[in-house]
């Protein structure tokens, strides 16, 4: 069977092609997931729709407090962007910790979203930012919150004729402290055993707002609503942080797999949440 390869230069043409081919087409962005799967799992898409020439999806843009990342923005672009560090710091650290420089130069935010890995790093930051995913088809145009977009490992609510065009989120207020850390088998180019991120705002000695997310400990990235609720309004104290970390470990449901065990993952959740909160408190208080 011959493979059809299409590389349109305009979004409209890409949407047109996807409308025609539907689920026979497979979208190619940076290829860091797709090519591995093609070689490894022997998947052989009938049509490859390469988005690489869609320059319009490669931009990072701003409108007031809104930040928009085109789907083809790479991890490296995010890591190197001069302003993002102040606007969404944990997104920058998450992207900085993806794979190796080569992977970061090719891998895109759209691919990271579509891939829907529970260990996705950039996506974890998007959960914290409560980003909305922009999906477009020939006939439709819609925005879906990231937490609703991803449903299971490798599963999203993207329809066969839709392209992820980008994501949008609000920049964090200047007093927000942020955090991201992951633990893997080795330092680089590794899949997380567990990862964690957070955003905290403190005023008058109390947690005002707190968002926490975990990766690799559930079928999708998860937020920790119980812990967040318990923290909101609580005074900043070591005991409160201890309790929050313990609650996080108790409420998550990690699994045993080849990369790690339940007991260790649960322990990591406790350590990472504790460490994250402590670090955010320290940075908020020094600011």
């Amino acid at each position: 069977m011959d493979q059809v390869y299409i590389r349109p230069s305009h979004l409209d043409d890409a949407l047109e092609a996807l409308n025609a081919y539907g689920d026979r087409a497979h979208i190619l962005a940076g290829g860091t997931d797709l090519l591995v799967r093609m070689r490894h799992d022997g998947i052989y898409p009938e049509v490859i729709l390469d988005l690489g020439a869609l320059g319009e999806l490669r931009k990072i843009s701003r409108d007031g407090d809104d930040i928009h990342l085109g789907a083809l923005v790479t991890h490296r672009q995010i890591e190197k962007d001069a302003m993002l560090a102040g606007e969404a710091g944990m997104l920058v650290s998450a992207c900085h910790q993806v794979g190796s420089v080569q992977i970061r130069n090719s891998g895109t935010i759209g691919g990271n979203l579509a891939n829907a890995s529970p260990a996705g790093d950039a996506v974890l930051a998007l959960y914290l930012l409560e980003a909305a995913v922009h999906l477009q088809s020939k006939h439709r145009d819609r925005w879906v919150p990231v937490g609703e977009f991803i449903t299971a490992p490798g599963q999203t609510t993207r329809r066969a004729d839709e392209i992820i065009c980008g994501v949008r989120f609000k920049r964090l207020p200047p007093d927000a402290a942020v955090f991201f850390e992951k633990v893997g088998q080795r330092q680089a180019v590794t899949i997380s055993k567990a990862s964690a991120g957070g955003i905290v705002r403190i005023s008058q000695g109390c947690f005002q707002e707190c968002r926490l997310a975990l990766g690799a400990v559930a079928p999708t990235i998860i937020r920790l609503p119980e812990v967040e609720a318990a923290l909101a309004g609580s005074p900043v104290s070591p005991q409160v942080i201890d309790r929050a970390a313990a609650l996080a470990a108790a409420t998550c449901h990690p699994i045993d797999d080849i990369r790690s065990t339940v007991a260790y993952r649960r322990h990591l959740v406790q350590v990472l949440v504790h460490r994250g909160l402590a670090a955010m408190v320290a940075s908020a208080q020094s600011a």
């Binding site: 591995v36 490894h40 190796s100 633990v183 893997g184 088998q185 080795r186 330092q187 680089a188 180019v189 590794t190 055993k193 080849i258 790690s260 065990t261 260790y264 322990h267 990591l268 350590v271 990472l272 460490r275």
Partner: protein, 756 residues
């Protein structure tokens, strides 16, 4: 050329009840499909070792039984790779599944299923297929009980090491064809071309003289290619189809159907006096050879022979050490273990060097002082040399050169030991309270070739223009041995290396060499090359004297006065003859002869290289993550012939050893299926992840070799894992008994340490 593929077993242990290849055979483009029914039933061993094979014969090219997930079921040859893969899917196999063994601890239990029940099985020494024992070792040196009775303390512990993979970049690949003289040529990526020819002849039913094995340039082996692993596949298919056939392993096949490093469970029991004198040392190793006994005896023999020889004890124990090394090497239904650079020693040193650290801590002694107090010294006998020699007659070997104290001294100062070890401020000098620094070390010894067994041959022929053909059996697998051997010949003959045309490892053309293993090439093949060069040099001197004396323009010259330098033979009176003149004279002008010599070398000793390995780490005491920041290895490998290739060996070796230390491990699920099947799930270190490496050569002159060399190739695999684990202990107090030091494992060790 046809492409070969192999159908691998999906089950861990089964008899093939029925196998139907008719559909596969009728697929257009398929040239042959072979099953056990098509091949003569010849039992052999795949380990590339000298005759007689030091292990059981328990393997068939194809059998009616499969013994691990990945074992061979059928061979296919087809016009293209796609067709061959397609044909594999069309083979119908009915398996009668049998109980299987994954955990080596249950191999010898009563009632355990017999993995080798074939009547053709040939036992070797203590092997007993009825008990799933491929090999067993019982070595007693001195009087162990007496040694323990003289001890103030006895320290016991159990250690564990995983199976790991060589991960050479080039996979196994072989091509075979009938040549114009109806001889079977096998071009193969091997470390042992001569063993391939010898071992395959009966398997293929061909006289040895009808087989030619050629080793072209190859891309690494690390022991994995000290195995006759896939040559029989192409050869059987060439014989069946009369056509050239090529077979190349996929990366997945390398993981599921090649050889790897033996996993072991090692028990150590050591008696010490309160002053730190070791009075008795006992090791028991349960070694898992997987489904076949390739290298079973010799790898595990090396575990004791290297790791248990280093510490004889101090005082009277130096002359009369009390050492016991027992081992059982058992079958399981997992992919076979085999040769992997280090060959048993990394397993042994993991246990011994962790144990020494623990004992020093218990005694409250400095771990380095404690080691040096008990370790071998120059002039002493290698304790195992009189006790064991792989089943051959043991003969005494005395240690001549031992630079271990210098290695410690120079290694310590390179890593800044005295400023760091036991210094709280240094340990805490990180930017996070949960990050701690640690420093650790290990001592090791290895061997250089196998005494009285390993032979290498070389021949050198002189041409008219003064160039030389150097033919060596030695196998350069990317190590640069062709270069190093040429350097030695060039040094003796007084010419630059580019005057040599070197050709190696072709069973039709080059002299025999047992191949590239046992850290032997520079030493054994180098000595053979040096001796051949010396013989050629002798003929050159005779010829030069003849020419000069015929000239009558000076006083008569004797050959032994002549010095060979700068492509000339120089008389002491300043007259000289060029090599080109000598070449022409010998081949064309007078008393014509071919100046040529062959020499071979076998050593009565296996002089051990010694080394000190140092490691510096930073670890996260909450998550258990360990980052190795610096490795320093100081090595006494005798004289260094080529500093670039020698330090390359050390750096490459430490890179592989670091994987063993912190992240590499092959695991199997409860059905025996390999979990890691590619380099994504199996982590080897990449260049950009490596810590700073430093190599220090402490040069000694090993008088048993013409250039004073000892081995350098395997010793860097031995010490990194225990040195890193000792650094973890130094940083956190956590005791690791099992490697690699993954975050999970380190965390568990930290938990235990908190309880204690």
């Amino acid at each position: 050329m046809l492409i070969a593929k192999v159908l691998h077993s999906p089950v861990a242990h089964a008899r093939i009840k029925n196998i139907d290849v008719s559909k596969a055979k009728s697929l257009p483009g398929v040239a042959a499909v072979l099953t056990y029914k098509d091949l003569p039933r010849v039992v052999y061993a795949t380990a590339g070792q000298s005759d007689p094979m030091p292990g059981p014969l328990d393997t068939f090219s194809l059998d009616n039984k499969v013994r691990f997930v990945g074992d061979r079921v059928a061979f296919v040859a087809a016009e293209t790779e796609e067709i061959a893969n397609q044909a594999l899917k069309l083979i119908n196999v009915e398996y009668e599944e049998l109980p299987f063994i994954i955990d080596p601890r249950s191999s010898m239990s009563d009632g355990a299923v017999k993995i080798h029940d074939e009547p053709e099985y040939v036992v070797h020494d203590l092997s007993d297929p009825n008990k799933n024992v491929a090999a067993a070792i019982r070595i007693d040196i001195g009087d162990l009980d007496n040694g323990f009775s003289e001890a103030d303390q006895i320290i016991e512990a159990e250690y564990k090491v995983p199976k790991v993979h060589q991960a050479h970049i080039e996979p196994h690949v072989s091509i075979s064809y009938w040549d114009e003289n109806d001889r079977l040529v096998i071009r193969t990526s091997t470390q042992v071309p001569f063993h391939v020819r010898r071992i395959l002849a009966p398997v293929l039913g061909l006289p040895m003289k009808r087989i030619r094995v050629i080793k072209p340039r190859i891309g690494g082996g690390f022991g994995s290619k000290q195995e006759v692993l896939i040559e029989d596949v192409v050869a059987h298919l060439t014989i069946a189809t009369k056509r050239p056939v090529r077979y190349e392993y996929t990366r997945e096949e390398e993981f599921i159907a090649a050889r790897s490093r033996h996993p072991m469970i090692i028990k150590l029991k050591t008696g010490v006096k309160n002053d730190g004198t070791i009075t008795a040392n006992e090791m028991y190793a349960l070694s898992d050879t997987g489904a076949y006994g390739c290298h079973a005896l010799t790898v595990t023999g090396n575990t004791g022979h290297k790791a248990m020889a280093l510490y004889t004890g101090d005082g009277k124990y130096r002359k009369a050490p009390n050492i016991r090394f027992y081992a059982d090497i058992v079958y399981t239904n997992t992919p076979p273990s085999g040769a992997y650079r280090g060959y048993g020693a990394p397993q042994g040193f993991w246990a011994v060097e962790r144990h020494m650290e623990t004992i020093a801590a218990k005694l409250g002694m400095d771990p380095i002082q404690f080691r040096l107090k008990n370790c071998l010294r120059a002039g002493e006998i290698h304790p195992f040399s009189i006790a064991w020699s792989e089943g051959r007659e043991p003969k005494p070997e005395y240690i001549q050169t031992i630079g271990i104290e210098q290695c410690v001294h120079q290694g310590k100062s390179a890593i800044g030991w005295d400023q760091k070890y036991g210094k709280q401020e240094w340990r805490d000098s990180t930017d996070k309270p949960y990050l701690k620094r640690g420093i650790g070390m290990a001592l090791m010894m290895h061997g250089t070739a196998i005494a009285y067994l390993d032979m290498g041959g070389a021949s050198i022929k002189m041409n008219e223009d003064g160039s030389f053909n150097l033919l060596v059996g030695a196998t350069d697998l990317g190590t640069g041995s062709d270069t190093v051997l040429t350097q030695m010949a060039a040094e003796v003959l007084g010419v630059p290396v580019d005057d040599f045309i070197v050709y190696s490892s072709d069973t039709d053309f080059t002299p025999f060499d047992k191949g590239a293993y046992a850290s032997s090439t520079t030493y054994i093949s180098g000595a053979a090359t040096t001796h051949a060069a010396a013989k050629v040099a002798e003929r050159i001197r005779v010829r030069a004297a003849m020419i000069l004396n015929d000239r009558t323009d000076g006083a008569p010259v004797k050959p032994d006065e002549i010095i060979l330098k700068d492509r000339r033979a120089h008389a002491s009176d300043g007259r000289a003859v060029t090599y080109s003149e000598i070449g022409h004279h010998s081949l064309h002008h007078k008393d014509q002869e071919q100046i040529m010599a062959v020499a071979s070398y076998v050593s009565p000793v296996s002089p051990p290289p010694f080394a000190a390995q140092f490691a510096e780490i930073v670890m996260d005491i909450e998550t258990g993550q360990v980052k190795v920041e610096k490795l320093v290895m100081a090595v006494d490998a005798g004289r260094i012939v080529n500093p670039v290739t020698a330090s390359g060996q050390i750096e490459g070796g430490m890179t592989q050893a670091l994987g063993y230390a912190v992240c590499e491990e092959m695991t199997y699920d409860d059905k025996g299926a390999p979990v890691e099947r590619d380099l994504v799930d199996y982590h080897i270190f990449r260049a950009d992840e490596m810590p700073e490496l430093e190599t220090i050569f402490v040069e000694t002159f090993e008088s048993s070799h013409p250039f004073g060399v000892k081995a350098v190739a395997e010793i860097p695999l031995d010490g990194v894992a225990p040195a890193v684990a000792n650094a973890i202990y130094n940083a956190s107090g956590a005791m690791l008994y099992e490697n690699p030091a993954t975050p999970d494992r380190v965390w568990k060790a930290l938990q235990k340490q908190k309880i204690n």
